[in-house]
């Protein structure tokens, strides 16, 4: 915005003719590139944090990593220390750590002596399936409730939804998981309990690692139903917090646009609410809602540690938990590095999506 005396009075109405498409698309590109640069710096920062945390922890990594026999063999210890650069000064160690990282080497788990990357690749699809399903549920339910609350502003529905939304963000995820497991599995037996599939069902052939998708791809209808039924309970439990969050944000985003003149004009010319709300209101409110999805993703990661533990879901959360409780450092660092990088990338994508949805950002 140029704060010239004339335009600053009515900045929104300022008409600037002759702005070509090419000129207005470049600032958006610059915006994306700037965000991307920040992303790279942040990723580097994350590795520094992970590295510093690893090196402040007391203990002898060689002793923890090598077996009982190898630890008595000085050559093996020296070889291990040399491979991970543990005989070098700290800054050099960080360089070596980064180098290993670039080659996809996150070290070895101290528990099962597998490569951490291998363990992660086993766990990621399980969590991805759960997280995607849960965010999908949260977005649909949360946005609908938020729109409903905004449309019925200050009526009984609105007040009830406020309590519902506050209740959603107040529930301890692990507790709700336990209650849901007791009620829907143990008492009513409507849904299966723990795990990704019934014990008698074989996993579908591996395409993506997401069992529901893989089952569909290979046409195993029975496996799909089974995997989906296993997904429902943990997915909905995980969605509870985000439903509360999205209801609130959607409500205020919708309220911000719903009193605009163009909405009133659309209603005045006779368009019914069922057309005005999705087309005029929700479309304008969408950028404000999309920003919350980055936050929702962080909540899903936090929640999945707790939910996966209760539901014995073999994902990232449970892996993180097991490595934290056994103080398996390479594994913890691997998980947190992975989660942080994914989280940062999600936020980057959200920023870009925001730019795509909100045309004003592209022009300025």
């Amino acid at each position: 915005m140029q704060p010239s005396a004339r335009t600053s009075t009515f900045p929104r109405l300022a008409f600037r003719p002759g702005r070509s498409r090419e000129r207005s698309s470049r600032p958006f590109l610059r915006f994306v590139l700037r965000r991307f640069g920040a992303l790279i710096l942040l990723a580097l920062g994350i590795t520094v944090v992970a590295f510093v945390l690893t090196s402040v922890v007391p203990g002898d990594p060689a002793a923890a990593n090598l077996g009982q026999q190898a630890i008595n063999d000085p050559a093996a210890v020296a070889a291990f220390n040399h491979h991970y650069g543990l005989d070098k000064p700290l800054p050099e160690q960080y360089g070596i750590y980064l180098w290993h990282l670039l080659h996809g080497d996150l070290g070895q788990s101290e528990q099962n002596h597998d490569a951490v990357t291998h363990d992660l690749s086993q766990a990621i699809p399980a969590t991805a399936e759960l997280a995607l399903f849960s965010i999908f549920v949260a977005v649909i339910v949360g946005m609908s409730l938020g729109v409903l609350a905004a449309v019925r502003r200050n009526k009984a529905t609105d007040h009830v939804l406020r309590v519902v939304s506050l209740g959603g963000v107040s529930m301890p995820t692990f507790w709700i998981a336990l209650v849901a497991l007791y009620v829907f599995f143990f008492r009513l037996n409507w849904l299966p309990g723990t795990g990704r599939l019934d014990a008698v069902v074989l996993p579908p052939p591996h395409h993506t690692g997401l069992y529901t998708l893989d089952a569909l791809l290979s046409g195993q209808w029975g496996t799909f139903t089974n995997a989906f039924r296993h997904l429902v309970l943990p997915g909905c439990v995980l969605a509870a917090y985000n439903i509360g969050l999205l209801t609130r944000y959607t409500r205020s985003a919708v309220l911000e646009v719903i009193s605009n003149d163009y909405v009133r004009a659309a209603r005045a010319k006779g368009l019914p609410a069922r057309i005005v709300v999705p087309r005029h209101v929700l479309r304008a409110a969408l950028p404000g809602i999309v920003t919350v999805i980055g936050l929702a993703f962080a909540n899903v990661m936090t929640g999945s540690v707790l939910v996966e533990y209760v539901f014995s879901w073999p994902g990232i959360g449970q892996y993180a938990f097991h490595s934290a409780t056994t103080l398996d450092l390479p594994a913890i660092m691997g998980v947190s590095l992975f989660v942080a990088v994914v989280y940062v990338v999600v936020n980057f994508l959200v920023d870009v999506l925001y730019g795509v949805l909100d045309a004003r950002l592209r022009v300025q």
């Binding site: 920062g45 406020r162 506050l166 301890p172 507790w175 336990l178 707790l306 938990f321 913890i332 942080a340």
Partner: protein, 301 residues
């Protein structure tokens, strides 16, 4: 200041604004959400203080009761697998979680606001450093960073609290920085400076009082989140260790005996009600301080 005799030239709106309000209304006591929140939170604080006198059994040493007994007149919330009274353990749990939550939020608020105010006021490289630090903390989902920190420091109550302070200070730093930056450019602060007030005086007298409100709202809402995270960590076994009566820990015991629903349900219900109370309070406080995003927008006031 008072509404007794407004200056004749004062516009009518000004008089409306300065009308003396009953205290209960000013504090928001007539708001049902505030009332419910205050009642529940107050009840839990009373319980936390008087737990040894209210609880029917000792939460740790009374292990001679029948194990896994369903709720009954003798044991209102039932007994757990070691023959301890769940009601007593739930009541005593308030003595761990509530003070720790308050401590946690208090320390994070202090650290975060100080850093935020410094960053916002001085700007430049200090500002850049503090903000990049908050970016970095925000890059990790809270529980993962807290888990890593507790793993690095060793498990236990003290380390769980430290870990959560590491996770929670940045939100205060960001809010305070933004407000200080915005307010120190505002006209009334500039005119105070122009009239000869020192930077320090302007910051303390003119800027900080306006920062206090939003920070208070944030702290109240954050208290709920802090308690959720704290009990999450102890649910995972990274916080207080057994046999301490602690809610998250008790829910974790309930997972192993989940057919006996009362073992985990009641301590979890305790967490839920405490967090809900603080969220009710924080949300209605936000309404009063920020009518823009108010839930009852266009409503009674």
């Amino acid at each position: 200041m008072t509404a007794g005799a407004p200056a004749p030239s004062a516009p009518i709106r000004l008089r409306l604004w300065q009308r003396r309000r009953p205290l209960s209304r000013a504090v928001g006591l007539r708001h049902p959400l505030t009332l419910v929140g205050l009642t529940i939170a107050g009840a839990w604080i009373v319980i936390a203080i008087f737990a040894p006198w209210i609880a029917p059994y000792d939460p740790v040493t009374d292990t001679t009761l029948p194990a896994l007994h369903a709720p009954s007149w003798h044991y209102l919330f039932g007994t757990d697998e070691l023959g301890r009274d769940v009601l007593s353990r739930t009541l005593f749990g308030a003595r761990t979680t509530i003070p720790l939550g308050l401590l946690l939020v208090g320390v994070s608020l202090l650290i975060g606001s100080t850093l935020g105010a410094i960053a916002g006021y001085f700007g430049g490289p200090i500002d850049g450093l503090v903000m990049r630090l908050t970016d970095l903390v925000f890059a990790f989902p809270a529980i993962i960073l807290a888990m890593v920190t507790t793993a690095a420091l060793g498990r236990g109550i003290q380390n769980a609290v430290i870990a959560l302070i590491v996770v929670s200070w940045p939100s205060y730093a960001r809010v305070v920085r933004g407000l200080v930056r915005q307010l120190s450019q505002s006209e009334y602060v500039l005119s105070a400076r122009l009239l000869g007030a020192s930077a320090r005086r302007a910051l303390v007298r003119d800027v900080l009082p306006n920062v206090a409100g939003p920070v208070l709202v944030l702290a109240t809402l954050d208290l709920g989140n802090a308690i959720l995270l704290l009990s999450g960590l102890s649910f995972l076994g990274l916080g207080p260790q057994p046999p301490k009566p602690e809610w998250g820990l008790s829910v974790a015991e309930g997972v192993n005996y989940f057919q006996y629903w009362w073992v985990g349900t009641f301590p979890g219900l305790a967490i839920f009600t405490v967090v809900l109370a603080f969220n009710f309070l924080g949300d209605s406080l936000r309404d009063r301080l920020d009518p823009q995003s108010s839930w009852s927008r266009g409503g009674d006031d």
